[in-house]
């Protein structure tokens, strides 16, 4: 068994230095690596570039690292719901690159699949196309987009085993699998860490080969951004 288990989030970030590019899993606050973000805040690494679909909210998720001015640049598809983000962006302290969500996902996927570039229809004819190669396939225009590169990928899974295999739950999967596959060093925190052999090998979402370090996280808050419910006894 290749050894991947580390004792805690801080050890999992060994080697993460100022100026690095990180991928951080999650969609909104769903499926974010809470323990790793907290450890990164304590660690104090600065001038980070973060590839993450969103930027958290004030006081939670990546919002925590914005407060402490550790992030120099965000590469995201949507960054609402965050006053501190807005302040830093408007003041020019924070650089922001907005890209279509599917392109973000596919650029992560390409990195983990050894595909340096690919073509997508998203953004043709818009600002997003500026400076990009446009090419016709069967008469339809597409943009060439490149694989991302990330020094670290920080992801969160539901279950993991000592071999680094990961399983996600519900829509907390989102960007985590592709980012896990894309990181030069991939660190996974999981709600439940089990010995190798306890997970069904058919049910693995991310094979252990992609995961370099793994640990069981603690104290998950799992905040809900938009709590929407219907009253009890409402029929489906």
């Amino acid at each position: 068994m290749i050894r991947k288990v580390v004792a805690n989030a801080d050890l999992a970030l060994d080697g993460l230095t100022d100026g690095m590019t990180l991928m951080v899993g999650g969609f909104g606050l769903c499926g974010i690596p809470e323990n790793l973000i907290a450890a990164l805040k304590l660690r104090g690494s600065r001038n980070l570039t973060c590839i993450a679909n969103n930027a958290g909210v004030d006081g939670f998720g990546l919002g925590l690292l914005l407060e402490s001015r550790q992030i120099r640049k965000m590469i995201s598809s949507y960054v609402g719901e965050n006053d501190e983000f807005e302040r830093q962006m408007l003041s020019g302290e924070l650089e922001v690159e907005l890209i279509p969500q599917g392109t973000l996902a596919e650029r992560c996927r390409a990195a983990g699949a050894g595909i340096p570039a690919f073509f997508t229809p998203a953004g043709v004819g818009t600002e997003v196309a500026e400076g990009k190669e446009v090419r016709l396939f069967q008469g339809k225009p597409y943009l060439m987009e490149y694989a991302f590169e990330a020094d670290f990928a920080l992801v969160k899974a539901w279950k993991g085993d000592e071999a680094g295999n990961l399983i996600f739950k519900g829509t907390a999967r989102n960007f985590n699998p592709m980012m896990a596959m894309a990181g030069r060093i991939t660190v996974a925190e999981v709600e439940e860490l089990v010995p190798a052999g306890m997970l069904d090998p058919n049910a693995i979402h991310v094979p252990g080969i992609f995961v370099h370090r793994i640990f069981q996280g603690a104290h998950y808050e799992k905040r809900i951004e938009q709590r929407t419910v219907r009253p009890k006894n409402t029929p489906l």
Binding site: Y78, G125, T171, M178, T228, V229, T234
Partner: protein
């Protein structure tokens, strides 16, 4: 009388066909799900990674790991599946989703759409909208006919930065149902109950085609 948001959603629900996979955007489009007839064979996709999305959970049963693209807590129906974002946008780009319903700030009479950015204001990002509009065969825009300043949102050319080019097929507003023919412009199909053709003409800035009697919507 102009439709309210639920009226717009109810009218769009009439566009659904059995066997379709449908992606509903944030805002009015989300309401469309409330007007699907019981037992109607349709599945909702949310681009953050679910097919077979169900209604909001019963109070107390919210699951932080189960949300839609609007970050609202949801439920899943029997036959649902979860998947990663690359697979999700893969199925969108590969045109497996038959209908996308989106909100918009502006729509042009050639089918261009602008719904993500207002110069000078804080930009929140395009999310998945650019992927959706670039890929969907069938896009219906749900929006008010005019903006808060009373200006038409149906234009000859969008003034705001575009989300997609020549992609919108139909627009349902509080006043009307309009089809887009990129050559000819907005074709008026239906009026909201009690709304006159003249009012629609007055409030549409883009090219508008009115042919014969324009029926009222049947809701």
């Amino acid at each position: 009388m102009a439709l309210d948001k639920n009226g717009i959603a109810r009218r769009i629900a009439q566009e659904l066909r059995e066997g379709w996979y449908v992606n509903l955007g944030i805002g009015i489009p989300t309401l469309v799900a409330n007007f699907v007839p019981e037992g109607f064979a349709i599945e909702f996709q949310s681009e953050n990674g679910i097919l077979g999305m169900g209604p909001f959970p019963i109070e107390g049963e919210e699951d932080a790991d189960l949300i839609n693209a609007g970050k609202q807590t949801i439920t899943s129906l029997p036959g649902a599946s979860f998947f990663d974002s690359a697979t999700s946008f893969g199925m969108i780009r590969a045109r497996k989703v038959q209908l996308t319903v989106l909100g918009a700030m502006e729509v042009s009479d050639r089918g261009d759409i602008a719904n993500w950015k207002i110069p000078g204001k804080m930009v929140k990002g395009m999310g998945g909208a650019m992927d959706l509009v670039a890929s969907a065969d069938n896009i219906i825009v749900a929006m008010q006919h005019s903006n808060r300043e009373g200006e038409s949102k149906l234009l000859s050319a969008c003034t705001l930065p575009l989300t997609g080019v020549g992609c919108v097929k139909k627009v349902v507003t509080d006043l009307a149902v309009l089809e887009i023919d990129p050559q000819r412009g907005f074709i008026l199909l239906e009026r909201a109950p009690g709304v006159s053709v003249d009012e629609i003409i007055a409030k549409t800035a883009g090219r508008l085609i009115v042919e014969g009697d324009v029926p009222e919507m049947v809701l």
